[in-house]
Each structure stands twice: as structure tokens, then as C-alpha cells.
């Protein structure tokens, strides 16, 4: 009888790998988690942030190791992602136990049923091979695992028609209270005919799972100082407590193929370049939407479709910064609370991307003080203007649906990192479908400026990264054009599953982490039954 090192090896300790690992360990399976980066306690990240310059760069307070570079803001990071296309695709990506959700803002939307049928309904992009109903129970499980606070009353399709999408149970926690800022914005948007709805969010509105409720520390990004906001380290450590073995500073670089199309082992390198081989019955690669295709390409696995690394998507976006006439006082409470969802769905998706507008409400002092100092404002006038402007700063962060295009892709660069492994090379550009939506969004911006009687600070930001990596290991019904099936199982290897938002074939406009977690829990359940 074959002896394995583990029942399941999970590559990556971010939220998607960790919820799968925790689920499997809880089911009594022997689990090993490999994490490329180190363990770092929360307090150390908070101190790192407080003592850092460049505080608006959310990657800054996180570790950057020669064997595990993050995506930017560090000596190894800054030359890590090799962009060769017209757009610098540089999403926030962290390499430490817990992964990149250390610095997300925890939006926890579900896709709506139409998001799963983009091709059928609107003639563009791709359909999912599964439907909303297939995922609904797993959405609920994911919301309970992460701890999501949300409204059971909103029409999340943005049409104001009553609770939608259908839920089997209420949200685990009631919505977080809205701030004065959010209430005033909602009133203004609603009066103008827009549908502003509450953002379901993996931040506690009450004590949950041993973590405290949000205390409004105004720092969801780059780190919640008190752990009221969920981040992947929660389940990495829960998995460990449930019996999983978590090996940090272990950089997986090869999946070894055996007979019958099965994966038999994963090889990882330690910081000193020493190599270790581990065997298991099943493997889950949960290494982020860029590192996952990189590992598959390095290993020459799962790619009979030639789609590994292709169809790369983000919710590439733009933003509007303005000063409202009335004082709204952003900075009280969480940094995101809701959004304008009117353009999330509808026939317009035949012609242009769906659109989401989300106001951000962080403490704005640095954002307003820097330009005042550049203008030379000093003395009592500086203090007066900081107070005036900080009370009125509105940032509208806009995201667009992006379609999967095979030429947008992650490949292996000829350049190598400290371990001699290839760096990711990226080509990314947006298309006419996307650009048509930018025009529509900018018309909305004009209305928003009028709505708040505002002074524009910046309404032409250029295209921005949104850190929502999708498509790079695409899911589909046909093995010839897809990497995984509807269960996140690779078509080429029956015991290799991918737990990454990279499997998402139709991006919609909502933050994909919750969907990734639902898919991972669903895949873990399948794996548990097969072992």
C-alpha cells in the first residue's frame, strides 16, 4: 500500500487555500499547507504600517522576501512582475501566511444569477458551467466561515425590486451601521434616482468567531489593526489548530505527474534553495491568480487546453475624487459601506461592461494635506483647509466588467528570481467593450459632481488595478477551452483542484473573494468524499 505524506496538500495559505484546508482538516483528513512567505503576527504589520512612509501604497507594510517577492513596494517586488503589454498589470499581491486578503477591504458580494450566463443572455464573454443555484449553499457556508455582515433586504442587482439574489438563510450578521457620510451619500444618490445599496462585508458588526466587532479604526486597508475584518490568516491558523501542518517559507515549484494523469507529488524550495518532495492523494493549488498559472506552467500540467495563464482579467477601474459642498466627514466607520449598482446588470451588457461605483470613506487627511502643502498653504489657513477638505473628500472607485481574452495572459519570463524560478510575465490590455463603459461611467461622474455640488479634484485617473485576478485558470464546460470544470477540478488531472479566483470565467463587477471561497469549500467537500 502506498504511503503518502498527506491526504491533501494545499499550495497557498490565503483565504481560498485556507478555508479548503480547514474544511478538510476538520473532516479528519491529513493536510499539509505550503506557504511561500513567512508567518507575521498582526501587531507587527500594524507597527510596520505606522512607521512606514508611502502609506497609501497598501503593499508597503508587508514582507518582501527574495524567495517570495510580493507584487510591488519592495526591493525584490519591484522587479518581480514583468509587464510587456500596454497596461501595467500590478495588482496587490502578498506573500505571507494569510495571503493578499490581509489588505482587502472585505467586500463580500455574491454574483447574481445572470452573471453566470453572460454569453447566453448578452452574447459576450463566457458562461459559467454551473449556475447560481449550484453555488448558493456554498455562498452561505463561505459567508458563515468568513463572517459576513449584510442586509437581507437589498436588491443587489441594483434595480430596487426587493431582496435579490435569493438566499437560503439570512446573513450571519446584521449590516454594519452606516456612517453619516454613507447615509448622506445614499440620500443624495437615491434622490437622483440611483440605487445605492449596502455592501455585504466580511467585517464583524458584532463579536463573531472569537474576533471583535469593527471599532471604526479607519484602516481596513492596508491592515485591520484589531482583526474585526476577516483575512486569510484566520483560516490558516484555524486549519493548523484543526491538525493541518502549515509549512511557511516553502515555495512550491513543481507538480510531479504520475500514472493515470494523476499528480503524485509537489516539490518545494526552502529559502536556502534546498528542495523537498511531498506526496499526497489530492492536491489543491491555491496560490493566487498569478502564481497558480505560473506553477502550472512551470510544471507543464493542466494545460492541454493551452488556456493556463490566458483570459487574465481584473476589474480594471477608474476613480473620481471631488470635494463636496457640504461636510460629510468620511473617515468614520469602515472604509467601504455600499455602492451604486444600477449598471450591474441589464441589456446594456450586450454593448459595454457592467459598472459598479463604490464610494470610499477613509480618513482623508493625507490626501487633502499633500496638495495644500504643494500649493504653499501654511499657518492657520492650512489647519482650516485640512479640516474643510477632509470633511468633504469623496472618492468614487469604479470597476468594470472585463471579458476573457486569450491574449491577456500570464506566461513565464526569461528572468528568474532568487531561487532561480521564472518571474511571471504579463500582457494585459482592455478592449472596446470595456472602453464603451468608461464613457458611460464618466457621464455618471458628471452627474455625481452636480449631485454633490462638488469641486473636482481628479476625474481622469487613467486605468487602475483593482487586485481582482480572474480567468487565468479558467473554468468551463469544455475541456478543449478550459482548465478546470465546474468543480474546480483540472480537466487533465483528476486529483488536482484549483482554489483561486483565477477559475472565474465571467468577472461581473463584484469583488470575487467570497465566490472564490464558496468554490473552494465546494471543491474541498468533493475532495473529502473522494479520499
Amino acid at each position: 500500500m502506498t504511503v503518502y505524506d498527506a491526504d491533501v496538500i494545499v499550495v497557498g495559505s490565503g483565504v481560498l487555500g485556507s478555508v479548503a484546508a480547514h474544511s478538510l482538516a476538520t473532516a479528519g483528513k491529513a493536510v499539509i499547507i505550503l506557504e511561500a512567505g513567512p508567518r507575521v503576527p498582526r501587531w507587527r504589520i500594524v507597527e510596520s504600517y505606522r512607521n512606514a512612509t508611502d502609506k497609501l501604497n497598501y503593499n508597503v507594510p508587508y514582507p518582501d522576501q527574495p524567495w517570495a517577492p510580493k507584487s510591488f513596494a519592495g526591493p525584490y517586488a519591484d522587479d518581480y512582475l514583468q509587464n510587456v503589454g500596454p497596461f501595467a498589470f500590478k495588482p496587490g499581491m502578498l506573500r505571507l501566511v494569510g495571503g493578499t486578503t490581509w489588505h482587502f477591504a472585505a467586500a463580500a458580494w455574491r454574483y447574481i444569477p445572470n452573471d453566470f450566463k453572460l454569453r447566453t443572455l448578452y452574447g459576450v464573454g463566457r458562461d459559467w458551467p454551473i449556475e447560481y443555484g449550484d453555488l448558493e449553499p456554498w455562498y452561505q457556508r463561505a459567508e458563515e466561515a468568513l463572517g459576513v455582515s449584510g442586509s437581507d433586504r437589498d436588491d443587489q442587482s441594483g434595480q430596487g425590486r426587493g431582496p435579490f439574489p435569493q438566499r437560503s438563510k439570512p446573513y450571519p450578521m446584521p449590516p454594519r451601521p452606516w456612517s453619516y457620510f454613507t447615509n448622506r451619500l445614499a440620500e443624495r444618490f437615491t434622490a437622483a434616482g440611483y440605487h445605492f445599496i449596502d455592501e455585504p462585508n466580511a467585517t464583524n458588526s458584532q463579536p463573531y468567531d472569537g474576533r471583535p466587532p469593527c471599532c471604526g479604526n479607519s484602516n481596513c486597508m492596508p491592515v485591520c489593526p484589531i482583526g474585526a475584518m476577516y483575512s486569510g490568516d484566520v483560516h490558516a491558523y484555524k486549519a493548523e489548530r484543526a491538525g493541518a501542518k502549515l509549512i511557511e517559507n516553502a515555495v512550491a515549484y513543481k507538480l510531479e505527474k504520475g500514472s493515470g494523469g494523476k499528480i503524485v507529488a509537489v516539490h518545494y524550495k526552502s529559502p536556502d534553495a534546498r528542495s523537498t518532495r511531498l506526496t499526497a492523494k489530492h492536491f489543491v493549488v491555491a496560490a493566487h491568480g498569478i502564481e497558480t498559472p505560473k506553477l502550472l506552467l512551470m510544471s507543464q500540467v493542466a494545460n492541454s487546453s493551452d488556456q493556463v495563464g490566458r483570459n487574465l482579467m481584473d476589474h480594471t477601474g477608474i476613480a473620481l475624487d471631488m470635494l463636496s459642498k457640504e461636510a460629510l466627514w468620511p473617515g468614520q466607520g469602515p472604509v467601504q459601506q455600499g455602492g451604486v449598482f444600477d449598471r450591474r446588470d441589464g441589456p446594456d451588457r450586450q454593448r459595454h461592461s457592467a459598472i459598479k461605483h463604490s464610494p470610499r470613506t477613509g480618513t482623508a487627511n493625507q490626501l487633502v494635506t499633500e496638495p495644500l502643502l504643494k500649493q504653499g498653504v501654511i499657518g492657520a489657513e492650512l489647519d482650516r483647509r485640512i479640516r474643510h477638505d477632509a470633511a468633504r473628500f469623496i472618492e468614487i472607485s469604479t470597476t468594470f466588467e472585463v471579458l476573457p481574452q486569450p491574449q491577456n495572459r500570464v506566461t513565464l519570463s526569461g528572468k528568474t528570481d532568487a531561487l532561480g524560478l521564472p518571474k511571471p510575465q504579463i500582457y494585459y490590455d482592455v478592449d472596446a467593450y470595456f472602453r464603451a463603459a468608461v464613457t458611460v461611467a464618466k457621464e455618471d461622474y458628471k452627474r455625481f459632481v452636480t449631485l454633490f455640488d462638488a469641486q473636482v479634484i481628479n476625474d481622469d485617473t487613467g486605468l487602475q488595478n483593482r487586485d481582482h485576478i480572474m480567468g487565468s485558470t479558467i473554468m468551463g464546460a469544455d475541456a478543449r477551452d478550459s482548465v478546470v470544470d465546474g468543480n474546480c477540478r483540472t480537466y487533465d488531472h483528476p486529483n488536482l483542484f484549483l482554489a483561486t479566483t483565477g477559475v472565474i470565467p465571467a468577472s461581473g463587477v463584484i469583488n470575487p473573494t467570497l465566490t472564490g471561497a464558496a468554490l473552494s469549500l465546494r471543491a474541498a467537500d468533493i475532495i473529502a468524499r473522494e479520499i
Binding site: 512612509t53 471599532c215 461636510a327
Partner: protein, 184 residues
Amino acid sequence: MSDRSIVDAEESMLCTHHSRRRFLALSAAAASAAGLVTAAPGIVRAVAPASQVDPAFVQLARFLTGRNDLDARIIARAYEALVTTDPSFAARSTTLARAIEDARLADVNALAISPLYANPSDRAVAIAIVSAFYLGQVGEASKARFIAFEKALMFEPTADMVPIPTYSRGGPGYWGKVTQVPND
């Protein structure tokens, strides 16, 4: 590391009006306050020894920020960062301090509307010093040098309304109870 003050500058006089004599007297007091920095070894690394913090700079920083209670450690750190970042800083700040004296400016608000503030070099030095204390850093983005965070002056004008990021000022859900806000 917290920015909690270890030095309480001894004088409490307001900075609303300065005679030339008071400007000079404050410089002497500042020198002794800065001297206390070295009495707390190990708390702040890489801070210039007090003997290297020009007393005239301490006074100039107080004048430009309109605050007499600047933390001596932060003054020392700002000075060290400014002179390191710009080799001509010491000479230019001395020039600015003298010019302020000569112009008999009452306070920073008088400077803001004076012909002196139109002089590009004096203006740039003044803004560099003000920026160091307000933003809590010298220089921009990743090349900047860290000075302070919790005590960065940019947070003072809104201290009654919003938290300094990472710090809490209300408790769970406090923001949901705010129904009126000042509109100044």
C-alpha cells in the same frame, strides 16, 4: 513604536505674537528641550544628537507650525531627515530664520502674506519644514524618511471628528450614532 511624548517643553506661551526678543528667548529654551532627547537612549534610533539640532531650527519649526509644544524627539528626527535629504538645508533654514527676524513677522500667518514668502528659496524651505511636521515624513513616497505618524500635525484639525488610521476613537459602531456633523 508610539510617538508618545517623552519631553514636555517647559514653556507654555502661545505663539500668536512674537517680538524679536521672544523669538531669541524661545531659541534658548528650545535648545534645552532638545537636549533632553539624549536622556532617553534607545527609544529612537538614528536621531541626531541634541548638540546637532540647531536651536534656531527648533524655534523656526515652532514658528512655522504655530505650535510651541512640538515633541522634541520629532523635532530632532525632522531636523536629521531634512539636513540629510538636502545638504543645503541647514544654510537655507538659517537664512529663512534670519529673514523672519529681520522682517519682524509676528507669526506664520504674517509670513504667509509677506513678500518674504514669495522668495522661492525661503518659501521652499518653509514648506519643507511644515511638510515634515504635518505629513510626518520628509520626501515623497518610498524614498521618504519617516518622522511621525500619530503626532503628524495633519491629524490635529480633525481630531474631534475622525480617527487617525489604525487608532480607534469611539468603540464598536460609534459612527452609526452620528446624526449631525459640523459644517465648518
